[in-house]
């Protein structure tokens, strides 16, 4: 795929405000601490330190993903004894109790989405760093998907909140949140920040820099 050569704002020496879209030409003297002439938001050519920030946040999220899945998410104390549940055993419980659509929803939102999101961000950051010209449209779509779907991983945190609040029948049954809840919440927040710090325009910049004839076709 070789997109039509086109002029980007960066090539034209223009900055676009990420809040209101106003185009502005930076003064020749310097280009730090600029503000949008229309809405006064900070102006950057690209999000500052975009890749480094994304890498740091994704790495932190990947590390915390381990305890989030291995430690107990909740502890149920009832007349029958005490039971520790991880995210996966919660999914298994839902599946076995017959509500397999919900089991699928929770599995997807709590296990698949964070995992795929971390992998997608690694791929996006790595390919942007390599200045790859490959499949920019598909990578932009992947980025949009990551941004859209990330929030749904908060599902398990909310489930725990309601379970802990409702099941407080002293003597009969109580539910407490486990340490995995903190780790899991951190994974969701870190991956959301990672997606926000990634600048999708970095996907397109190598295309503007390479003349169409010299674009690699890997």
């Amino acid at each position: 795929m070789s997109p039509r050569p086109a002029l980007t704002a960066r090539q034209a020496g223009l900055l676009s405000c990420h809040i209101c879209g106003q185009l502005a030409r930076p003064p020749a003297a310097g280009s730090h601490a600029l503000r949008c002439p229309r809405c006064n938001a900070p102006l950057h050519l690209r999000k500052p330190a975009s890749l480094a920030t994304t890498w740091a946040l994704v790495l932190a999220a990947a590390i915390l993903f381990v305890p989030a899945n291995l430690l107990p998410m909740m502890t149920t104390a009832s007349l029958l004894g005490t039971q520790h549940d991880t995210i996966m055993s919660g999914v298994v419980f839902l599946w076995q109790s017959g509500s397999w659509p919900l089991a699928a929803v929770v599995f997807f939102a709590s296990v698949m989405v964070p995992l795929l999101k971390i992998m997608a961000l690694v791929y996006l950051a790595a390919s942007a760093q390599r200045r790859s010209c490959r499949q920019p449209l598909q990578r932009t779509r992947l980025y949009r998907l990551v941004e859209f779907v990330g929030r749904w991983s908060m599902l398990d945190i909310y489930v725990i909140t309601i379970l802990v609040a409702l099941v407080q029948f002293q003597g009969l049954a109580t539910i407490q949140a486990g340490p995995a809840a903190v780790a899991f919440g951190a994974v969701v927040v870190l991956t959301m920040f990672a997606a926000m710090s990634f600048d999708p325009r970095l996907i397109w910049d190598p295309l503007a820099d390479a003349p169409p004839s010299e674009q690699p076709h890997d």
Binding site: A9, R25, N40, I160, A181, G185
Partner: protein
């Protein structure tokens, strides 16, 4: 601090795609139409009909629904004659005293604080616009709306409530409270309000008519 030129020489309809940086002309939009980037397909602009009136009406509705959703119990359980009902604030209180401070804070911010902050900021922008007092001073409020938006997760919270109720339904009778339905309606109304609002109205100079 250096102020860049507003650049009066650039054509007013020249815009850069916020996702791929392509320079292009923004087409004139009929009411209800949207403009997308010719290269990457990102949404560039929308022209919702009756933008200010509709989004203001929806934002006011959302404010009422938000109050109901937080004052009344969300969900409840009935077990062996004992009945438990919780509000959102009540649930956070229990979680906090359970030693889960960070989790309670995360839930409080995403399900309680940021949705209302978003709503107040939308109203702070819309009311002056409706009164015909568009001014650049509204810009900071709009920026706040934009930065807070991704963190308001009422719809995820609603799904979370449903999942937890299904988990409990085999051991107790489950009650859906007034606030549950108010919250479901709030999600619909907030989404519609967001779609009805045209941010370009903010940047129009007072003399200009849409």
């Amino acid at each position: 601090m250096l102020a860049p030129d507003a650049h009066p020489l650039l054509p007013a309809d020249l815009i850069a795609c916020h996702e791929c940086d392509l320079l292009q002309r923004e087409p004139a939009l009929a009411p209800g139409e949207t403009a997308r980037c010719t290269r990457c397909g990102a949404l560039l602009a929308r022209n919702p009909p009756d933008s200010i009136d509709r989004s203001l009406a929806l934002a006011c509705t959302a404010a009422v629904l938000y109050l109901i959703a937080n004052l009344y119990p969300l969900v409840g359980l009935e077990m062996q004659g004992r009945r438990v009902e919780v509000t959102l604030a009540g649930a956070l209180h229990i979680l906090w005293h359970d030693g889960m401070g960070p989790v309670a804070a995360l839930v409080g911010v995403t399900a309680l604080l940021f949705p209302v902050l978003e709503l107040l900021m939308i109203l702070a922008v819309l009311v002056p616009l409706r009164l015909g007092r568009a001014s650049p001073r509204l810009a900071p409020f709009f920026r706040l709306v934009r930065s807070v938006q991704p963190w308001g997760m009422v719809e995820v919270f609603l799904l979370g409530m449903l999942v937890s109720l299904v988990k409990l339904s085999h051991l107790a009778t489950v009650i859906l409270g007034t606030a549950f339905w108010a919250m479901a309606a709030l999600i619909v109304v907030l989404t519609l309000a967001g779609r009805a609002f045209d941010p370009r109205l903010l940047w129009q100079t007072p003399g200009q008519t849409p």
